[in-house]
Structure formats: C-alpha cells, structure tokens
Symmetry: C2
Subunit: 128 residues, 2 copies
DNA sequence: CTGTATCCTACACGATACTG
DNA sequence: CAGTATCGTGTAGGATACAG
C-alpha cells in the first residue's frame, strides 16, 4: 500500500496489495470462511486493534475483503473474502508451497549467518 | 527480511524473503540472465547504490542470487539467479499474472478513492 | 566500475486509553 | 464488541560524498 512509482510488473502490483505486516495472514485466516473482528484479532496473535483495522480497511478498499455490518444490539461485523480475494489467495498458493518447502533452508541460513554480517563483504563463496 | 515472529505459514516465509522495495524487481530483472551491478542499477531506475547493494547482499545471503567477481583491471561483478532463485521466480508467476490481470482495477479503485479516505469509515457499500 | 560511509527522514507498526 | 484518538519508535529506504 505504498504505490510510489508505477508498477514495473504484475508481481509488483500484487505485492503492493498484500504489503502490510498482517495482510497475507488476514487473507489466509479468512480463506476458511468469514470471521468477526474479535476472531481475527485472536487469530492474529500480537496485532493491535489499530493496525488490524487499518489493514482490514485497506484490504476492503482494494476489494479483497468484504465488510458486513449487522445492526444488532451488540455490535457485530463480519469480514470475508471477496471473489477477488479468493483469486488472490489462489495465486498465492504456489508461493506458499515454495515457502513451506524452503523454510527450513531459509531459517537455517539466517541462523548461522548473523544478521550483522549479511551486509558486510564476503561471506560469499569464491569462484575463480 | 525482518523475521520478527516465527513464520505463520509458507507465504509468510516467502514474502519475508522478497521483502524489500526492489527485490522482486531484481529477481525479475535477473530472470533473463546474469547482469552486472551497473546494468541492474540502470534497470531499476531510481534505486540508490546503497540500497541496491544491500538488497543484493540479502538476496545472496538467502541464496537466491549468486555473486560472481572477476579479478580484472576494471572491477566487474556479475549477479545471477541461483536454482533456488529461479524456483522462487516460478512460484511468483501466478501472482504476477494475477497482478497483471487486476492491475487496472487496483489502480482504478485507488485513483478515485483518495488515500486519506481509505482509513476513514464507510466508503463501503451497504448491505442490509 | 563497484562498492563504503554517513547522515537523514518518512512512515509502518505498536501501546494505551477512551467511546458508541 | 468494534472500533477511534494519540503518542511514541524502529528501521527501511534515500541523498550524497568518498574509495579501491
């Protein structure tokens, strides 16, 4: 949700739409069905109300999720995926599989490579 | 490249790896073949040297790109995708297609919905 | 040409208190 | 319950100058 420069490619646009610390988790969480605000909050352990609502609104503005309010005595709002949101989730699947497959490797490399050293010269294998 | 909480799912891990303003563009740019630092810099118009090198190093640390130096009189370094990088690029394709397909809609919605209004109550259609 | 070294800033995210 | 209103913060990203 920054959109500074025009998108350079499709991935660029798609990433922009899911850009936000909790958005993919929200989409993921909603993929099994609509959820209320409180449920989501519990689901995404650690998110603040402010940020959750912020990202939900952005997702709604992008029409990936649908916000339905019920005029009841006790306030009730349900969020669910739109058709567009579902299609995005589908497009995300291969990426999810890639992540699942390679997660051990990723974590392993990051574990023994102290973050401070990543951006300092050659940890890189020599070729010559 | 933040990795604060343990990954909640595969997408989460994958997104973390491509998290960085220019990383997908770098991967995309390298998908057609190895490139030198200067070429990349020209390709990704607008990136600063500092940030470019930073993200290249992170990608290299994650073993998505390969950094090859040639000991010549005029410094020369070539970056290319690793097998892992190529596999990520493949996993990114559906997302890219989704983005390409929906980019017009995304931009349209964001255009007539002024950014300031996104996070203020109902722009949302009524249902009831 | 391929980087380092600094300095700076905006903005996403977070903590907390309050409201209909 | 489902938000809103504030205030505070870290850090990714950018500008620029310099170096091997």
């Amino acid at each position: 949700m920054k959109q500074k420069r025009p998108y350079a490619c499709g991935v660029d646009a798609a990433v922009d739409v899911i850009d936000g610390k909790w958005k993919v988790l929200i989409l993921w969480s909603l993929s099994t069905g609509g959820k209320r605000f409180g449920e989501l909050k519990r689901d995404l352990s650690g998110v603040s109300e402010k940020v959750l609502i912020q990202q939900l609104r952005e997702l709604a503005a992008d029409e990936l999720v649908h916000r339905r309010t019920y005029a009841e005595v006790v306030p009730r709002v349900e969020y669910s995926l739109t058709e567009l949101g579902r299609s995005l989730n589908e497009a995300l699947e291969p990426l999810g599989e890639w992540g699942a497959r390679n997660r051990p490797g990723i974590e392993a490399r990051r574990a023994h490579l102290s973050p401070e050293r990543v951006n300092t010269a050659d940890n890189h294998p020599r070729h010559g």
